[in-house]
């Protein structure tokens, strides 16, 4: 919402300067987003007289002017067709910056003739669009004076952000009222501002226009008045200047009047060209499929939920949102019908949302205009039409009734302290509320003014009081603190996430945060997404991710495109599924992608090393370990998913069903789909599958170091090539738990001496004696158990 300081002062009697006004606006909740004074950028431009104008010897379209800008006459080359001796205009000397293009004017030769500046057009000074010629000023304009001062442009324009609850401040008058209540000045009576007596209706003798409402829900009240014999020329300079100052383009007197009142009083109106109407003008629901070409030139298809204003022939207005092109006023208009209606905010909001159409009118109606301001609004509009375009007013038609039920709340002045935390004397509270237009009885029944639709309870009254007293006066009060030091607050799931994150980073991985949404194709390639947005911002951000890997792979690819030789990325975030009851099932997951070189070429070996699936496995195991999982007991099984290399991937399971992690080499086709060359390995840790640590029992199991030295024995077995080595290790570990504490694979060999189709696995077995050292017989016994356990798997001890 923009307005100029002088505009504000039409309603507010105050000596406050711009800064005081801005500070007060911020203090009472009308946030100042910007202040611009057009005079500041125009301070160098002065009023000047063209003393003489002669043709340029080298160019047909240029003239050489002699210009008096209040000093020695200056020679200026000018291309404007309207430049001529005797005229007054605006001169920019050397050094001035042209607002439209930020060009610094210089003394320069133009086609061989020196020019000492520029005579300016409206467009060059950003005061309008007109660039057909240079500005022409009246003969009495004071030569040499700063143009902006003379033209009244030294008038800062304030841009205020109005929160959606404050419809009353969608007009300059409402803002003035709030400032007055805050003590910044006095609100001038509305009748004085418009020089109108609002106590008697402004009614003429012509018959009242034929309007009605058939849609009491959407348009509960429809007031109208006609004016005949108007001449729709330009609006007067004062109105045009105000509109231009806030960036609106003046169009014609009738259009400008409605735009002006919308800004000035927050009161949208519509003016129809009566010559284009046929029969009664009726507020009704649209018929499905009905269409209207709106004033923005676009055609809108309407449905039966939307309120329109129509005559016997067609729809002329999307009620409360935008008028129709057909019956819009033009310079030929002679008879008009002025509509001042009340539209239901919810209806307006729904229609506006459906049509995707915003307008100044919608913004005001959907927030809720003052339902008690129909008569005054219409009277002021009619007065302006009569004053600015002439003509004769008709009688007034008033149909329906705007919702005027008074809202009265019992108010307890202590509530101000209990909720607002600030003590304000009851009488002061009464004064504040009264200044804001509330009426307060002796026993504190507070009636809300008709224009404050947002106030619907005592808490709002507290807000009004606190706002006016100033939030600076609210004193900080510490929250009561529990005894003792702060209690731990993280849930087990949060602690788990933190451990995983910091472990991953400690292992050299970089944490990325990727979009939660994926392109359809990427989601499909990784299991398919359950949730697709109806209104994605782009096709690349459409499907909620079923896996963290696509995001990480895209990031890896971007890094490699930027020249990274090695990429180690991880992310902790959610995957999105549908729960059994249709709600969102969001599963915490850690994803890891390793791409490029594991280690770059170095002087010691001269070679770089590549990642392989075991690097991914190492990360998965390390993170699970950090999460407190006994990783030695996990099952290593296939079925990591189609996005992995079928022969170089696996899952880690706690029991056959509970998959804690998947890892492996990425399927080459998938890597290619992400433009990744070479081997890419990945791991996924499904945090939701990891059993959470129960409320902590800090006590650890007792530990006594064994008194006797452990011994190791090596075994080598021949096994079938496709037998999982882990099976052998598990069998050995499990065959004599009293003595065997570890079994570690230290060699895997095929080739010379090993039969075709077989492989030799060498295992170091650690034996821990408890009460006495092993004798030869003991060792033989254990050794036999190991060999027997291996034999069950078809493993043969190598001789």
């Amino acid at each position: 919402m923009k307005f100029s300081l002088s505009w504000l002062k039409e309603h507010l009697d105050t000596d406050a300067d711009m800064q005081a006004v801005a500070d007060c606006l911020n203090r009472i909740g009308l946030e100042v987003e910007g202040i611009e004074n057009p005079a500041e950028s125009l301070s160098a431009f002065r009023i000047a007289k063209v003393i003489s104008a002669a043709p340029h010897p080298q160019a047909d379209k240029l003239q050489v002017l002699s210009v008096d800008a209040g000093g020695e006459p200056l020679q200026v080359v000018c291309g404007a067709p309207n430049a001529r001796a005797g005229m007054l205009g605006v001169f920019g000397p050397a050094g001035a910056v042209v607002p439209a293009n930020n060009m610094v004017l210089k003394v320069a030769a133009i086609r061989g003739i020196e020019s000492n500046g520029m005579m300016c057009s409206i467009a060059e000074l950003e005061l309008g669009d007109d660039h057909d010629g240079i500005i022409e000023l009246p003969d009495d304009a004071p030569i040499g004076q700063v143009y902006a001062d003379w033209a009244g442009l030294d008038d800062p324009v304030i841009d205020v952000s109005i929160t959606p609850n404050r419809q009353d401040c969608m007009g300059v008058r409402g803002i003035a009222r709030d400032l007055a209540a805050a003590g910044l000045g006095t609100l001038k009576p509305l009748g004085d501002v418009y020089k109108i007596d609002l106590s008697t209706p402004l009614e003429g003798s012509d018959p009242a226009p034929n309007v009605r409402t058939d849609d009491a829900a959407g348009c509960p009240a429809f007031y109208a008045q006609s004016v005949s014999g108007v001449r729709n020329g330009e609006a007067p300079e004062w109105m045009r200047a105000k509109l231009k100052a806030i960036g609106q383009k003046p169009i014609s007197a009738l259009v400008d009047i409605t735009n002006f009142l919308s800004i000035d009083l927050g009161r949208p109106l519509h003016v129809y060209d009566r010559a284009k109407l046929n029969g009664a003008l009726v507020a009704r629901k649209a018929v499905d499929g009905e269409q209207v070409v709106a004033l923005n030139g676009k055609t809108y298809a309407l449905d039966a939920s939307m309120t329109v204003i129509a005559d016997d022939t067609m729809v002329h207005d999307i009620g409360g949102i935008m008028g129709g092109e057909h019956s819009g006023v033009s310079e030929d208009t002679t008879d008009v019908l002025i509509e001042c209606a009340f539209f239901d905010p919810e209806h307006i909001a729904r229609t506006g949302q459906k049509l995707g159409l915003t307008s100044d009118a919608r913004q005001r109606f959907e927030r809720g205009v003052d339902p008690a301001f129909l008569d005054d609004g219409l009277a002021i509009a009619t007065k302006l039409v009569l004053d600015l375009t002439g003509g004769k007013a008709s009688a007034i038609t008033r149909v329906g009734q705007a919702p005027l039920t008074p809202r009265i709340f019992a108010y307890d002045t202590d509530y101000c302290h209990r909720l607002g935390g600030v003590d304000v004397a009851p009488e002061e509270q009464r004064n504040i509320l009264t200044r804001l237009g509330f009426s307060v009885t002796d026993d504190w029944a507070v009636t809300v003014p008709s224009w404050r639709r947002d106030v619907d309870g005592p808490a709002d009254l507290v807000e009004e009081v606190v706002r006016m007293v100033g939030l600076d006066n609210v004193v900080s009060v510490p929250l009561p603190r529990a005894d003792g030091v702060a209690q731990p607050t993280a849930t087990p799931a949060q602690s788990l996430e933190r451990k995983i994150r910091r472990t991953a980073a400690a292992r050299g991985l970089n944490e990325a945060i990727n979009w939660s949404f994926l392109p359809q194709k990427a989601a499909d390639a990784f299991g398919g997404g359950a949730w697709s947005l109806a209104n994605p911002i782009s096709e690349d951000m459409k499907v909620m991710r079923p896996s963290l890997l696509p995001g990480l792979l895209s990031a890896a690819q971007r890094n490699i495109d930027r020249g990274a030789s090695s990429v180690r990325l991880f992310e902790i975030g959610r995957r999105y599924f549908v729960g059994t009851n249709g709600s969102s099932d969001e599963r915490a997951t850690a994803g890891i992608v390793l791409a490029g070189d594991k280690s770059v070429r170095n002087w010691a070996t001269g070679k770089s090393a590549k990642f392989d699936a075991f690097d991914a496995k190492a990360e998965a195991i390390a993170l699970l370990k950090a999460a407190g999982v006994a990783t030695d007991n996990l099952l290593v099984m296939d079925d990591a998913g189609a996005h992995y290399h079928p022969g170089q991937s696996a899952t880690l399971r706690m029991g056959p069903k509970n998959i804690l992690a998947a890892f492996g080499t990425l399927h080459p086709a998938k890597a290619k789909a992400f433009d990744l060359d070479g081997i890419v390995v990945a791991a996924e840790i499904f945090l939701d599958a990891i059993p959470l640590k129960k409320a902590s029992d800090f006590m650890r199991p007792a530990f006594t170091p064994p008194a006797l030295q452990a011994v190791t024995r090596d075994f080598a077995f021949l096994v079938a090539e496709d037998m999982p080595a882990n099976d052998l290790l598990r069998a050995i570990k499990g065959c004599d738990k009293d003595n065997i504490v570890a079994a570690r694979l230290f060699d895997r060999f095929s080739g010379q001496g090993v039969p075709e189709g077989q492989v030799s696995l060498a295992v170091e077995v650690t034996l821990q004696p408890t009460d006495k050292s092993y004798g030869d017989d003991d060792l033989k016994l254990i050794s036999d158990k190991v060999i027997a356990a291996a034999a069950k798997l078809g493993a043969v001890l190598r001789g």
Partner: protein
């Protein structure tokens, strides 16, 4: 040859031995089976007791002095050998050591940990909620009915109607505020929580990304008022920015789910052309907050005449930018290794109150 001469000769031989081999030859010639000193020792068997008494110490003394001279010479030669070998083993220690990759924590995670730490001290637990929300939790329960103009401020991402649940349209949460509702409907007051997480708005330009992070705070108790809110925000921002000169400016504002609503600006100073929190040279908006609206408390099944409290929300990414100086939000979600290395945090830089939450 008398013993004295023998000793002199042997000592000279030991001294002049240039290698361990030469020294060994001297040792054998003196102390070996056929050695000159061994021969002298053998003569002691045939001596009379008187003779042995005078000759014994002399011969033994000879043996001892030769033995220790041999040992000393051996040690000397070995040291020289070792030094020679070490001299050949010299390596250029300016050669680079093997690279170990340096991992990093994303600034958003780090800041969330910092916030959890600060608020834990004030008794706030960390709550969570789904990112795919139903319309009721995201809007209606927060006093934002369908036709409310505030909905237009939210640029909501919607899921198709067929994904609706119990007649509720599903959306990507536009703020972390639905966690307020989920907390109030699932636990008894008093409540003190913060709720950090991803939120989504269909907005994308230089300063907006369609996904970003917010943190929500909620206190529901008896007798909580705006003064408590002010203290909490001041205390939090001072702790987070680790400065005592953090100045807040509270402005009345509007959020449908709070009444009164308060927008919070924080003062900054300009140092080396950058805005630094602290002082009051200028103001920037950092937080939205207010007293929880009666209707919201009611919607959660609590009695607003008994329970009241405050809520606040702010952008985590923005807090990170203000503290650590990043100036492009989009980079947060790009996964650029160089950016992560530059702005990321060491794994062991865990925020603690005793160590200071900032790094």
């Amino acid at each position: 040859m008398d013993i004295e001469t023998l000793q002199t000769e042997l000592m000279a031989a030991i001294d002049s031995a240039g290698t361990l081999e030469a020294l060994e030859a001297v040792r054998v010639s003196a102390l070996g089976k056929q050695g000159s000193v061994s021969a002298l020792l053998k003569t002691m068997g045939g001596m009379s007791p008187e003779e042995r008494q005078t000759q014994g110490p002399i011969i033994n003394g000879l043996r001892e002095s030769i033995t220790s001279a041999l040992a000393a010479k051996k040690a000397e030669l070995e040291t020289a050998d070792l030094n020679r070998r070490l001299a050949t083993e010299r390596v250029d220690m300016t050669l680079p050591a093997p690279d170990a990759p340096r991992g990093t924590i994303h600034p958003v995670s780090q800041v969330m940990d910092e916030l959890a730490e600060i608020f834990a001290d004030m008794g706030f637990a960390v709550a969570e909620g789904p990112e795919i929300e139903d319309d009721w939790h995201n809007f209606t329960a927060l006093n934002i009915p369908e036709t409310h103009p505030a909905r237009a401020m939210h640029d909501t991402f919607y899921f198709p109607d067929e994904m609706a649940r119990d007649g509720q349209k599903m959306v990507l949460r536009t703020h972390t505020s639905p966690v307020q509702i989920r907390t109030m409907t699932s636990q008894e007051p008093p409540i003190r929580i913060i709720a950090p997480g991803r939120v989504y708005r269909s907005d994308s330009d230089a300063t907006h990304t369609p996904m970003f992070h917010q943190i929500e705070g909620l206190v529901i108790d008896k007798g909580i008022h705006l003064g408590h809110l002010k203290w909490t925000l001041e205390t939090f921002l001072k702790a987070y920015f680790e400065r005592e000169d953090v100045v807040l400016r509270l402005r009345p504002s509007y959020f449908p789910f709070t009444e009164p609503s308060v927008e919070v600006d924080v003062g900054y100073s300009v140092i080396n052309g950058k805005r630094v929190i602290g002082g009051s040279e200028g103001w920037m908006e950092v937080l939205g907050s207010g007293m929880v609206h009666r209707k919201v408390i009611e919607a959660c099944g609590l009695d607003p005449d008994v329970w009241q409290g405050f809520a606040f929300g702010t952008g985590v990414d923005r807090l990170a930018m203000l503290k650590y100086g990043m100036d492009d939000l989009r980079a947060f979600f790009d996964g650029d290794n160089r950016w992560l290395q530059h702005y990321g945090f060491n794994a062991l830089d865990v925020p603690t109150l005793s160590g200071g939450v900032g790094v």
